[in-house]
Symmetry: C2
Subunit: 633 residues, 2 copies
Amino acid sequence: MKYGMTGKILRIDLTDLTYAVEEPDEYIYRTYYGGSALACYYLLNECPKGTDPMGPDNLLIFASSPLVGSGIPGSNRYSVAAISPLSGIYGEAEAGGWWSPELKRAGYDAVLIKGKAEKPVYLWIHDGQVEIRNAGALWGKGTGDAQDIIKNDLGVKRVSVAAIGPAGENQVRFACVVNGLKHTNGRGGLGAVMGSKNLKAIAVRGKQSPDFHDKETLKRVIEWYANNFMDHPIERVLHDGGTIGWDVTELDEAGILPTYNFRSGSFEKADDICGETFHKQYFIEAGSCQGCVIRCKRVARSDGPYKVDPAYGGPEYETAAAFGSLCGVSDLEVVCKAHELCNKYTLDSISTGATIAFAMECFENGLLTAKDTDGLELKFGNQKAMVECIHKVANREGIGDLLAEGSRRASETIGGGAKKLAMHVKGQELAMHEPRGKGSLGLAYALSSTGANHTEGPHDYLFQEGALGVSDLPELGILEPVPAIELTPEKVRYFALMQLTWNVFNTLGLCIFTAGPGKLLKMNQVAQAVEAATGWNVTLWEIMKLAERTVTLKRAVSVLHGITRKDDCLPDRFFQPLEGGLLKGMALEQEVFEKSLDLYYDMRGWDRNTGIPTAGKLVELGLGWVNKLLGQQ
Amino acid sequence: MKYGMTGKILRIDLTDLTYAVEEPDEYIYRTYYGGSALACYYLLNECPKGTDPMGPDNLLIFASSPLVGSGIPGSNRYSVAAISPLSGIYGEAEAGGWWSPELKRAGYDAVLIKGKAEKPVYLWIHDGQVEIRNAGALWGKGTGDAQDIIKNDLGVKRVSVAAIGPAGENQVRFACVVNGLKHTNGRGGLGAVMGSKNLKAIAVRGKQSPDFHDKETLKRVIEWYANNFMDHPIERVLHDGGTIGWDVTELDEAGILPTYNFRSGSFEKADDICGETFHKQYFIEAGSCQGCVIRCKRVARSDGPYKVDPAYGGPEYETAAAFGSLCGVSDLEVVCKAHELCNKYTLDSISTGATIAFAMECFENGLLTAKDTDGLELKFGNQKAMVECIHKVANREGIGDLLAEGSRRASETIGGGAKKLAMHVKGQELAMHEPRGKGSLGLAYALSSTGANHTEGPHDYLFQEGALGVSDLPELGILEPVPAIELTPEKVRYFALMQLTWNVFNTLGLCIFTAGPGKLLKMNQVAQAVEAATGWNVTLWEIMKLAERTVTLKRAVSVLHGITRKDDCLPDRFFQPLEGGLLKGMALEQEVFEKSLDLYYDMRGWDRNTGIPTAGKLVELGLGWVNKLLGQQ
């Protein structure tokens, strides 16, 4: 590798406590780049069907990307991937912060971890050196304490730490990985995989930035971005209010704020948990990721009864809705506390909130009683019980041990009508977006290869007639605005194309808030930035084919681990009318939904009957070798 | 339309002798651009299944494109399209010259012609004006005389004339259209469609070039091209020797020069018909198309027994092989004469040579006798009989009337084993490339929606290990050289991608000799040129999707008119060993070939069983409306 990456991949075997450095061919880098595509490449090759997600053979991957560290706003991310303990299929989550640029400065593009340490360890990667160190003193600690101990242990102040807290150690199936206390690889239970390997943390530090090919062009783009983002309506909103300032009120008014475990689209106390309230009462400052001018992160603090520690940042919209409207909780201090606890324990706030909301509905329906909940009155709106539940889940105590299995497994254990109340796809809980009011979101949830996933495409309403994003559509070949809500064939097309743009960012290590349709940095500029970083003659064609390859690779991993078309579905609830809000009465139609799936498979070159990528499509994407794994030719 | 095109499409009704001007929405232009994609758009909408190719309801289209007239070398072409009298499915052929830029200067992007004039007419389109004029005096004339008469009739010297000769008038099923006496819309019998409408010619003249958006960028590309093409090995070869100077000897030595009706891959007298011989004996000067520095056209002249008139240009490689090695003829003067006659009569030289070669093999096998051939000893190598045959075909005299139906229909009439000797796919004769030695060419022939077509992708050998084109592959996502001959899955991938680049040029009005993989102007530069011409934010992604749309539109027209997967085949001969030359003994394998088709359909999003584009793929390409026509949803 000449430009953009280090060319080195670090292999760790925790069973033997050894490591090795690999230098893949440039061909591998240009085919898979980094992040999720690179992760899938290794998972397909090394984790056959039947690999136990919590076993030593699961491969845990931390993967950076060519743009990372280039200074392009948002280009600071990395993917953590493995076979997910939550879904049993492809598990992946991204985070920003400083960890990913630091890994590259330390001399590696990715870290691949196998095996299981006999006793807790952490990794210390610095300037090409690798140490596997005793983590005995860290075990049982929250992320904050763990990070402090590591810094002391190493005697290095500027070190970036990705760690798990007790939830990861206890293999809560939706435990996450947190770096810098506030940047989370949230979904899919990858923290539990770390825990299963007795790996507490990865600390990185490096002083050698990889060389970028055309620094002048990168500098020009960076400066242009800095000069213009405040004039871009969406970047400005993100800068001024973060995601919590963007979504809560707007979604509530539109009738698509997930409320009471997705029964309603409106929360009567939405104003209490909205961005304005947050900024008035708990906001102390904006936070950022490496090299990003947007500064969309919020930092919360409270000295009230729940005492919220600002070291852990503050809630995103997803967290606010998951612990707020979804659980019927309107006390924003409690929401901020829930956020802090999630980052400390390393719990995915979406799955945590959603699993508790599921439990609340079970409780209200008599499927769970106080006997099951250690006496907690687990009703919607009971904020105290909700916070108590978070502690119990992280520590797998009482009812927490059941809920730590995630809503799918918990619903199977509870039995009765509980299955119908678990709002998940393929085992992963839905994020805080209502499919009945966002036509393409339902497809995203149903079709994502990691289970219900909201980062598979932007909100439809940004691209309807007269909306901001419409002018960005022609670049992708869409010449007309999309319908606001309905799931038309054109909407499926829009989704399939948008899904490409959103997916490729997880391979490029780029943030969906700074770039892509509707954002300031356009897709073609992304291609130009990648070309400037790498020196390859990259065009938007290559980026979009990389995106298609990424989506198909993810699918291939999950197909290998058991999914077929029948798993591409939504909970029954979404085919029933919304119970409240502006869209009250709105329901998805099963026939339209199935027809939309048909069209989607056609668009992707996946078989309509099985949902499996066709042999020719895999060859066309340069993935002919995957056919053998899937038993086809 | 602000830039690149006139925004006006001319409709002619020859039955009523009326015309009208349409101004389609910009949406239509950006979706279909021009050339073949635009032609398909109109054919799909206006020519239902069952349209008689020779009837008044067939729609005859002459379509220019946004780049045409911009000065980018090679950007001077146009498509003629209709339902083909030869194949009964989509018929399309391109030509360069001056006609297309002149049409745009005259104020129109395309001309759509329906109906049938009671008496012969020609069109005179000049500076926005349209006249439908009496062609009584022209009927029966060759293209040279016809053009002279038109110029006199109009009293205008600088006028560009696309015309038919007697072959078109007599509705020879492979009659072509010729402009400027030397630029041919060769394949598919579109001259016969003109003849069936009693339309002798379209004369155009205009003084108003359409405005181009970014003239500075266009100028820079044009200058760069002019400064560099002589250093580019392939552009240099085309400049120095034309196609006749490139191919004959090289292909003969490689064992892939179609000889004796595709029985052999080597012609013992190849040197007699090669470029060197041509340049020594008959070449008088190089010719050009509008604005092109390559000047690949050859002009031939002979004062020998066959007297060759230089007004009609000179033979391309295709013509040299079709009337040379394919018919076993080694007298290059005769080949030049055959070329002249084809351009005068308006016969497609490929189908003419191939149909005569077919008749020769029938004759040698006793399936035709001197009684059938009006006494001609129609054996391989009988050059006199070959020339006589050309006259007879054009005038539909004797054996010529049978052969004027094309080799498929003629073979059905002759019966016996004749069908096995007709080298066609879907009714259109194979061009002069041997599928047994060019792995992807066989696919191109089998899969082209116009029947056997050699302009569906470049020669494989340009992209094998160490070859010139390899460095252009990464731009398209192919990171490794392709195998030289074999039909591997990777070769199918290569073909599917290359087919896009070659097809889109027929939509953009650009020449495959100046641009594309292996040529000087790279695909991304093409995208930039289109952006500069139109002002749209065009990237290579848009161009490649346009290409995919084009290939799929063509397929849709042909599916509507009856083809399915079973028609995607090659003559049996190619699954038999080559009888001579370096690759003697080489044969395609049916199983490998069928497997390759499977992969191809997957890659295109066409159904493997039927070969029909899937509903979702059509929607994804912005062609959802086509599903209804094809009876699917």
